[in-house]
């Protein structure tokens, strides 16, 4: 559905995007993560044709954004970080205008506007002037504009930025509904949001992709992490655990109680549980708890951005 190949954007000596390449398949929800200034907005602006890349190509459904902009943009709905809203217009007029821009057949516009308003929770707001709306509703109008013309690709730049927690939760629910059957690319620096909505995560740092992976794979880190609480002496247990086949790293955690050892075992793909049970039985060290631990997105994000 969407393909970026070697996209680079330079402003003088500053490189805002450096050789960025990825594809997004139909129906995929892709989160673009990065610190402020990592190049997220630049990439999204290039993806939507608002900016032209210094080098590289963007294609949407096989149409090159520079060579065939009309065909490419027909497939695209874009909600920038600041929603592009005309304050003097009513919500109905703004959505009608967006439909006309997206070449929706004139006779179909009223029904299309009503449908989008219902999807985005704007049904009662249609006669209201945009300038009088709250931040949350303005964001919804921005999203509704992006949905005009029923685009297959939705590009959202920090869509919940500036919303209060309740508005954020409501907006996320709406997004989750709208994402069904569409390709969605959205940028955020709110990790829980990406975790809640995305199938795949791309982490940008200084304009470069430093991580591109499915969320589940990213969280498992390509192996297994286990927390084990063991009753026994740490002096004997720690070297034994480190020598266990399949265990790559053992990290000591704060002890949960007197005479107990708590450790984080970072293992490969192969299960280590049978060998662990055998070892502890042999050492007469009862296992009090064994719990799989997922990589949090925060940990992954901090790791890859500090490495970058």
């Amino acid at each position: 559905m969407l393909s970026l190949k070697g996209v680079t954007k330079r402003y003088g000596d500053t490189v805002a995007a450096d050789d960025v390449s990825f594809t997004a398949e139909r129906g995929q929800v892709l989160g673009l993560l990065g610190q402020n200034g990592a190049g997220k907005t630049t990439i999204l602006s290039i993806m939507t044709g608002y900016l032209a890349p210094t080098a590289g190509t963007v294609t949407v459904d096989g149409h090159d954004m520079l060579a065939e902009p009309r065909q490419a943009r027909r497939q695209l709905g874009y909600l920038p970080e600041v929603p592009p809203l005309y304050d003097e217009m009513t919500v109905r007029a703004a959505l009608g205008f967006a439909c006309e821009l997206k070449m929706v057949v004139r006779a179909d516009i009223p029904a299309h506007v009503a449908e989008i308003a219902a999807q985005t929770g704007l049904g009662d707001m249609l006669p209201r002037r945009i300038g009088n709306l709250s931040k949350g509703y303005r964001q919804r109008v921005g999203l509704a504009q992006a949905l005009c013309g029923d685009p297959e690709l939705l590009v959202l730049d920090e869509p919940t930025s500036g919303l209060d927690p309740r508005q954020t939760a409501e907006f996320r629910d709406t997004l989750a509904q709208l994402a069904k059957g569409r390709t969605v690319v959205f940028s955020s620096h709110i990790l829980s949001e990406v975790q809640a909505l995305c199938d795949r995560v791309i982490i940008l740092h200084h304009g470069r992709i430093v991580c591109d992976s499915g969320l589940k794979r990213l969280q498992s880190g390509g192996g297994t992490r286990l927390r084990a609480d063991i009753l026994g002496e740490d002096k004997a247990l720690l070297p034994a655990l480190r020598g266990l086949p399949g265990v790559q790293r053992v990290t000591r955690l704060p002890s949960p109680g007197k005479g107990q050892l708590s450790v984080l075992l970072e293992c490969g793909e192969a299960p280590v549980q049978p060998a662990l049970f055998t070892l502890l039985t042999g050492m007469n060290a009862p296992l009090m708890r064994l719990q799989p631990v997922e990589n949090t997105l925060e940990e992954i994000f901090l790791r890859v951005t500090s490495e970058g």
Partner: protein, 236 residues
């Protein structure tokens, strides 16, 4: 293009821009008419339109300052420039909407002509010719100021630059009579929209002058498209 035209035209009337433009135009027009025609009992309508033509220089920035610079500042241009509408469509839609406000304003000024017709004599051919030049010059100023708006970052800078450049064009008329160098004088005369408008005021329908205004307008609209396209390549 049609959608842009409709939205822009509505926006002019939903906001104060069209009212300021029309209000100041008619207010100053009334002063010119009262002083130049009523007080002196003169039916010289071309002279009235000549005075009115200086108002384009002052007022066209009001219609153009928000066209691109305002959209850029409010970031609403992101909706237009990521939609399937071509840049040419955007530019023409916006330009024609501004022209529509200008034409409506000119239509309202016909009330002065009605007064002259009631109490004096109107020469239809001469008046039509004057109005043609008057409108062509106004539309050319709009195209120039639209281009300046496309280059500016904020509406205020767009308005100040537009007014400055408009004033400079008026000065070309003054300077062409003041410089000693023949080549410089003829170059300034060639550029000056006021010298191009002067024959219309005398009732002379010159194709060269019509072509001058039309070509200048087309060139400036083309440059506006290019300026907007160039922004995509260098915008930070």
């Amino acid at each position: 293009m049609r959608a842009i035209f409709k939205r822009e035209l509505q926006a002019y009337f939903y906001t104060a821009h069209a009212y300021v433009f029309m209000g100041v135009f008619l207010m100053l027009g009334s002063v010119f008419f009262a002083v130049g025609n009523l007080a002196s009992l003169s039916g010289d309508y071309p002279a009235f339109l000549w005075n009115m033509s200086y108002l384009w220089m002052l007022l066209t920035p009001v219609l153009t300052m928000h066209a691109y610079a305002g959209e850029r500042k409010a970031r609403t241009d992101q909706l237009l420039f990521t939609s399937p509408v071509s840049l040419t469509g955007v530019v023409l839609g916006k330009y024609l909407a501004a022209c529509a406000v200008l034409l409506l304003t000119v239509a309202l000024s016909l009330v002065y002509l009605l007064v002259v017709a009631l109490y004096g004599r109107v020469y239809p051919g001469e008046t039509l010719c004057c109005y043609l030049g008057f409108v062509l010059m106004g539309c050319a100023f709009l195209a120039l100021d639209m281009y300046i708006s496309a280059r500016a970052r904020t509406p205020v800078t767009a308005a100040v630059w537009a007014f400055g450049v408009n004033l400079l064009l008026w000065l070309t008329d003054v300077l062409s009579g003041a410089v000693n160098n023949k080549l410089a004088a003829s170059a300034l005369g060639f550029i000056s929209p006021y010298m191009r408008y002067a024959p219309f005021q005398l009732g002379q329908l010159s194709y060269a002058n019509i072509l001058y205004f039309l070509a200048a307008t087309a060139l400036l609209l083309f440059l506006t498209v290019r300026a907007l396209d160039a922004r995509r390549w260098r915008e930070a």
